[in-house]
């Protein structure tokens, strides 16, 4: 088991290195650097000014060299302007010329500098990840139980009317991407002129103009039912259908097993068969699916955070990619690789744990 985890960690580091190198290469292509220079300096820079801006900050070295500097395996060069202000990768605003460290990379625990937020990448990403973590927590709280209930109810009597209608609901939810369901929810629940909000306001059932808020911009400081519901259910809905279908398939399979028939013939009541015999085995497969669903949720998070203006990890991704904020993009790639591979690892280990028939050899 220890060796297995160690091997997986090795793969994780190798994948992160390859992935960050690809991101590094693409973000350091000259047109992207030019965009960076123009957003940092001003938009009417001449080509020579752009070149000297980039050169003085060390952007024009070869890509492997810059990558090694980002990793912290190579010293980053420092140049000085005429008045002695240092410029370079390791330089932070307000730093004295003699305080500039020669190494500043991942190995030194330094994740770089966000050129858009004017802050350390680690600080930026920590707040963003905190926000997204909170969102994801609520998504999980809403999505997992409802998906499992739908799946179990549908799979318990395969082919019945309940099964048909619940399966249709789960197909519908997998067919609705976040940007569609978000738009529909805003139209029906958060618009002061359409949907149910005007009716409810007319009857005096709600205080404000709308039932929910179409933006979650305030949800970072004070999340409440009004501004946080729509983002949560928008993400939860898309993932729910898939988990429900997997649960249904697994439940239906378990219900045809021999030991269930035995229990039936023994005279165990249907309720007890479901609760005591079937559920335990039927929930092994959905556990894996839920874990593997997390990276997919990350995708939904990007869309929903953009749609509802919630400043989390996904919002940061779009912001950084739009402005070619190199260090932030690299940090984001590392985080997402770790999330993807960690959830895979957890799902594998959990599977072994839940299913004693399988052992990792």
């Amino acid at each position: 088991m220890g060796l297995f985890i160690l091997k997986r960690l090795g793969v994780m580091i190798l994948t992160s290195l390859c992935l960050t190198y690809i991101v590094f290469f693409l973000t350091n292509l000259y047109p992207n650097l030019e965009k960076l220079a123009k957003t940092q300096g001003n938009f009417r820079m001449s080509d020579e000014a752009v070149a000297s801006f980039l050169d003085s900050r060390g952007y024009l070295q070869s890509t492997p060299a810059k990558y090694a500097q980002w990793l912290g395996a190579m010293p980053a060069p420092v140049t000085y302007t005429e008045d002695g202000t240092p410029l370079g990768k390791c330089v932070r605003p307000g730093m004295e010329a003699d305080a500039v460290p020669s190494f500043c990379g991942i190995l030194q625990g330094n994740w770089g500098w966000s050129t858009v937020s004017k802050d350390e990448v680690s600080a930026v990403l920590a707040t963003r990840l905190g926000n997204t973590g909170y969102l994801m927590m609520w998504v999980m709280i809403v999505m997992v139980p409802s998906a499992l209930v739908i799946g179990v109810l549908a799979g318990m009597r395969e082919g019945s009317r309940t099964d048909r209608s619940l399966s249709t609901v789960s197909i519908l939810s997998t067919a609705t991407p976040e940007y569609v369901s978000g738009v529909i929810f805003i139209a029906f629940l958060a618009s002061s002129r359409y949907g149910i909000s005007p009716i409810l306001a007319d009857w005096g059932w709600i205080d404000g103009k709308t039932l929910f808020k179409g933006t979650a911009a305030k949800a970072m400081e004070s999340p409440d039912l009004q501004n946080f519901t729509l983002p949560v259910i928008t993400i939860a809905l898309y993932g729910m259908g898939y988990i429900a279908r997997m649960t249904r398939a697994s439940m239906a399979e378990v219900m045809t097993a021999q030991y269930i028939r035995t229990a039936r013939l023994k005279g165990v009541s249907f309720r007890n068969i479901i609760m005591k015999h079937a559920l335990r085995n039927a929930l092994i497969a959905p556990f894996t699916v839920i874990m593997l669903q997390v990276p997919w949720l990350l995708n939904g998070v990007v869309i929903v955070e953009t749609l509802f203006n919630y400043k989390g990890f996904g919002w940061q991704l779009v912001n950084a990619a739009g402005n070619n904020d190199i260090d932030v993009l690299l940090g984001i790639s590392v985080v997402s690789v770790v999330v993807v591979l960690l959830t895979q690892l957890i799902s594998d280990i959990g599977y072994v744990y839940l299913n004693p028939r399988i052992r990792i050899s």
Partner: protein, 492 residues
Amino acid sequence: MEPLTWTGSLGTAVDPVFTIIAFLFLAMVVLQIVGSFAFAAVDHKINADGTITYDTGPNALIGKGVKYSLFALLALIILYLLSGIIVPGSSGIIGALSAQLAPVWVALVFTFLVSIVYKRKLGLYGKLFDSTVGMIGFALVMFWVYTAVFTGVFDMIATHDPLGQLSGMKNKAPGTPVRGADPAECGLSCYYLLGGDNLARDVFSRVVEGSWIVIAIAPLATLFAFMIGITLGLPAGYFGGRLDTVLSFLANLVLAFPVILLFYLLVTPEIVQIGIPNYMAMVLGLFPIMFIVVVLNSRFHTRPKVRTPLMLAVVGASVWMYLSFVSSGGYFVSTPTYSIPGLPTFLDLFDIDPGILVVAVSVAFVNSITVFRIVRGLALDIQTRDYVAAAQTRGEGPWYIMLWEILPNARGPLIVDFCLRIGYTTILLGTLGFFGLGLAPESPDWGTTINDGRKLMQLYVHPALPPAMALLSLVLGLNLLADGLREESLRD
């Protein structure tokens, strides 16, 4: 001119009935869900003499209620749609939309009639018409296919230019007549049937034009992805070993990327400018040619007399298509700083809009990775079968076994996945549009339109809702179709 109401003059009489039946139907459905837990299940008894005693318990009665109210509802909807076609203007916006879509209805009815009559002779496709879910899915998909074809190829359905901005129509409600239009000459194109967007363009025309972009790109990009995934996945699963390790590592590498970050890295204007998508198109475009060559060669290499002319013709044609695909305006790659000359323009069969090329290539690339994993898994599974061992004993080459023994036996899951994947591709295309990547900002595709419309969502919902519903119904149709196909293919 009066603006159109949703259901027009027919609506004043029929609307109340429709509302009552709709509420009745909803109440019945709720009752049915409650009833399935509260009362005994419906149980028709088959008597000893072969007759059936129908159950008349509460659940059976509720079931009947649901059925008949649903039929009544459908009949009323058909009434609205038909009356709009037969008496123009009699059933408001809904009727006008229906009249505008008349060619689509005709084509749909014709397709269904022919398919149902000959369904026993049509193989898996015919079996689809045995399952209700499959038929509904097929109808939704074909609705959009016909809409797209009639709009994009025959220029029939759209009432206005999707890019045309008419003064005074900004954010106007559905059914608003165009300012200064003369009803005698323009008919239905006097109206913005689904309203105007924030740049005063016709929402209806944009939605139907957008369907052409989706229907043209999504299946082709998916087909591309399948060819790439199959060409790489079969050997990875069949040979295993180091090849499998390397390819699987690369696939996992790409899968660890959040899709949107990948799109941002590949499709931003700066990257497009230096031609990376063109290089990707050049590389990915080679896979279909490789696929075709290997398929034909492995089958016919024992008969050189057939093989050589066949290969010459097919490879010639596909290379020509490939060159036309990757080169546009006489260049493979054309950037401000350098360019690689390609096929001369007089030999170039078709030019693909650079934005569409970029989008199609990146969507195909992302999908091909997942297809690779599926095909690899199927190959691993199927290669243990006896018929593969038999072919090996016969002395067949590895490519023959992969393409003519393993692949045909994996077709069931692959066909189902193909349907699902077209839906996923549609979602990805919408995502790209939603983030404004690749396609031009005024492009009428659904993602871009949703993104445009969402900014004023609190005040005007009509610009964003129709494309959202369109995308939803197409993807839903594809999912239902896949479900029907899976059910029917499992039944054999």
